[in-house]
């Protein structure tokens, strides 16, 4: 009888030890000095910062490298001005369009739909409603207004300035314009001289597999 009690006690202790492995706590480390950084880490929790959050807004007036001021103000007037006068500074190339598509599918398609018809997944699931199609007559979006809305957001749509760079936004503008043209049954704008270059590149790519081993010299010249 005593033996059974001892065995039971041992089993209980074992179960306690095993069940105490807590998933919500990080594991032990061998040399915490080597694991924990000396410098402040991104999103770290350090007492020196307000609310002990390393993640803070940049100091007011600070300018990131490569940043250019956006001259239109966040108001109806600014919107109308941008709609009329703001033009896309990038060239409308195939590459830019593809880059724009990639970004569009990440940030915009979830509401605006892959085709820009305002039927993204969130709209179909009735989470967010009333997303207009890009061919909406009343809005009549232009490259300037597309950029302006991405920069500041409008009504229920938030600003995407924190998730994208200026160049990326303009690439998205190009792609949105392409979608708009597709919806309206027009041909999307592609800057002409660039089209020829793109075609040449495409042709070379088709030939490449055949020439791969025969003409390494030619490929080298392309790489440079």
């Amino acid at each position: 009888m005593k033996n059974t009690i001892k065995i039971l006690a041992a089993a209980v202790v074992m179960i306690c030890v095993v069940s105490c492995q807590n998933k919500s706590k990080p594991n032990y480390q061998y040399m915490p000095n080597m694991y924990e950084p000396v410098s402040y880490e991104t999103y770290g929790d350090y007492k020196v910062f307000p609310d002990s959050q390393e993640a803070m807004l940049p100091v007011e007036g600070s300018i990131p490298r490569g940043w250019m001021p956006y001259e239109y103000e966040n108001s109806n007037n600014g919107y109308l001005q941008a709609k009329d006068s703001l033009k896309n500074p990038i060239r409308y190339t195939k590459e830019n369009e593809e880059a724009g598509k990639e970004l569009y599918d990440i940030y915009c398609a979830i509401c605006h739909g892959g085709k820009g018809d305002g039927k993204g997944t969130l709209v179909k699931r009735e989470k967010i409603l009333g997303v207009p199609t890009y061919s909406d007559v009343g809005r009549a979006i232009t490259e300037g207004s597309i950029y302006h809305v991405m920069y500041y957001g409008i009504n229920s749509m938030g600003s995407y300035a924190s998730q994208t760079s200026e160049h990326e936004r303009w690439q998205i503008v190009q792609y949105v314009q392409k979608l708009k043209a597709d919806l309206e049954g027009k041909t999307p704008r592609i800057d002409t001289e660039v089209v020829e270059v793109v075609e040449v590149v495409v042709d070379e790519k088709h030939e490449e597999p055949a020439n791969d081993h025969q003409e390494p010299a030619k490929d080298h010249s392309n790489a440079h």
Binding site: K25, Q29, A55, L122, G130, Q163, H220
Partner: protein
């Protein structure tokens, strides 16, 4: 006496059972009735087609208007009582012109909503607008009052889990009783035998098994070796998992469900973790990114609630977000009072290892799930991969470098693949195993 008791309990069970059954019928009627009534009522009161109006409302108006709640624009329920029909027609078709012409009502609304211009909808006919107004005038259906059945329904849905436990407990009890009965029978039989002077055969003269074991030195040796091997195995295993946080699943300050966002709603990972494309760190989204959608989504749909987490629970979590970001849902504006959400970092490489997200996400095109696991199925986020060096190195050995459309790799790939005599270079052959790549 006993029998009477039994009959009582049987009738109780019967009554409870019928009550339970009836509760199933209630919700069906409770939900259907008011909706039908409301639809009928409005069809009669206004001229428009509610169903067509709903379609138009959802595709055109819902971006800025809700029926019973202020959004970017006013709540539209009751709009037909506030304004003349003709006024509504011209407002919807071109509100800016009305404001410009100095219409008092138009200017009042414009001023009230911080001079937010309403888009013009010249494509809508008067009949369309009638339909929309008809839809907007449908009174709010009473929130489905929790029918008396819900309580029992919940217990019913959990019932399967409970019943399994109960069954197990009963089984355990039965086994226990069997064991006890066995002992008792044995004891009484022995007593019986003693009383009848039957001599039970005694097993004596044999050496006990432990003594035999100790006397056999070979067996002892083998056992000791086996024990040492086993303990060595476990000790090795224990030391190897120190510093590995696989399965780490902390409780976050806001219950953010990746399953709902990335799984059910198919939001791209990079929508929120946008800096994974371009920087070392895969950013934890700042709250303005949450508000991109949650400005208009202030509560979850009924269908989102699960047995584990109720709708009230999820709505409460959205309220936590509003509190942290300082969003006043009633006035649809930011109060400016914010507080940080202190997310707990799960994936954390030691300081002596360097890892860059953009290199893997953008250049190599590695799927997020490759390292982070099926995040779109995780209700609560946990660490999927061990994040050990062996794990990194293994992937570098197996994964081919993505060279397509990347001019940067063209030359080096050509030369190295010639050197190694392969068509496709792995990350390892490209130098992905060099110490200095990750440790410096």
């Amino acid at each position: 006496m006993k029998q009477v008791k039994h009959r009582n309990s049987a009738s109780k069970i019967l009554i409870l059972g019928t009550v339970f059954l009836f509760t199933f019928f209630n919700p069906v009627y409770a939900q259907d009735a008011p909706a039908v009534d409301a639809a009928v009522a409005t069809e009669a009161s206004s001229g428009g087609d509610v169903a067509k109006g709903e379609e138009l409302f959802k595709s055109l108006c819902a971006a800025c208007h809700k029926r019973y709640k202020k959004m970017t624009g006013p709540a539209l329920f009751g709009v037909a009582d506030k304004y003349e029909k003709e006024w509504i027609y011209s407002w919807v078709k071109n509100s800016a012109a009305m404001i410009a012409s100095g219409d008092a009502q138009a200017i009042a609304v414009y001023e009230e909503y911080n001079k937010t211009a309403m888009n013009a909808f010249p494509q809508l006919s008067n009949a369309d607008i009638d339909n929309i107004v008809a839809y907007a005038m449908v009174p709010k259906a009473d929130p489905p009052t929790p029918p008396p059945g819900t309580g029992s329904e919940v217990s019913e849905s959990n019932g399967s889990g409970i019943s399994v436990n109960v069954m197990l407990a009963i089984l355990a009890l039965v086994f226990l009783m069997l064991v006890v009965v066995l002992f008792l029978v044995n004891k009484t039989l022995r007593n019986f035998a003693e009383a009848n002077n039957v001599v039970l055969p005694q097993s004596e003269g044999k050496t006990p098994i432990w003594k035999a074991f100790i006397e056999n030195q070979f067996l002892v040796l083998v056992t000791v070796v086996l024990l040492m091997l086993a303990s060595g195995y476990y000790v090795y295993g224990y030391f190897m998992q120190v510093g590995v946080d696989q399965g780490y699943q902390p409780v976050q300050p806001i219950h953010y469900s990746h399953k709902i966002h990335a799984g059910d709603n198919e939001i791209e990972c990079k929508y929120c973790h946008s800096s994974a494309r371009v920087s070392k760190t895969s950013g934890i989204p700042s709250l303005n990114v949450c508000m991109n959608c949650h400005k208009s989504i202030s509560e979850v749909a009924e269908a989102t609630a699960t047995a584990e987490h109720s709708k009230e629970f999820y709505d409460g979590e959205i309220q936590k977000l509003y509190k942290a970001v300082g969003w006043d849902a009633d006035s649809q504006s930011y109060t400016g009072k914010t507080e940080p959400v202190k997310w707990i970092r799960i994936h954390n490489l030691p300081d002596f290892a360097y890892f860059n997200h953009s290199q893997h996400v953008t250049v190599a095109g590695v799927e997020c799930q490759k390292c982070h696991g099926p995040v779109e199925e995780m209700e609560v986020m946990y660490q999927f991969a061990p994040l050990t060096m062996g794990w990194c190195v293994n992937c570098h050995r197996e994964t081919n470098v993505k060279v397509a459309d990347n001019k940067y790799y063209e030359k080096i790939h050509k030369e190295l693949s010639k050197k190694y005599g392969v068509d496709q270079l792995t990350a390892a052959q490209m130098g992905g195993l060099e110490c200095g790549k990750c440790h410096y």
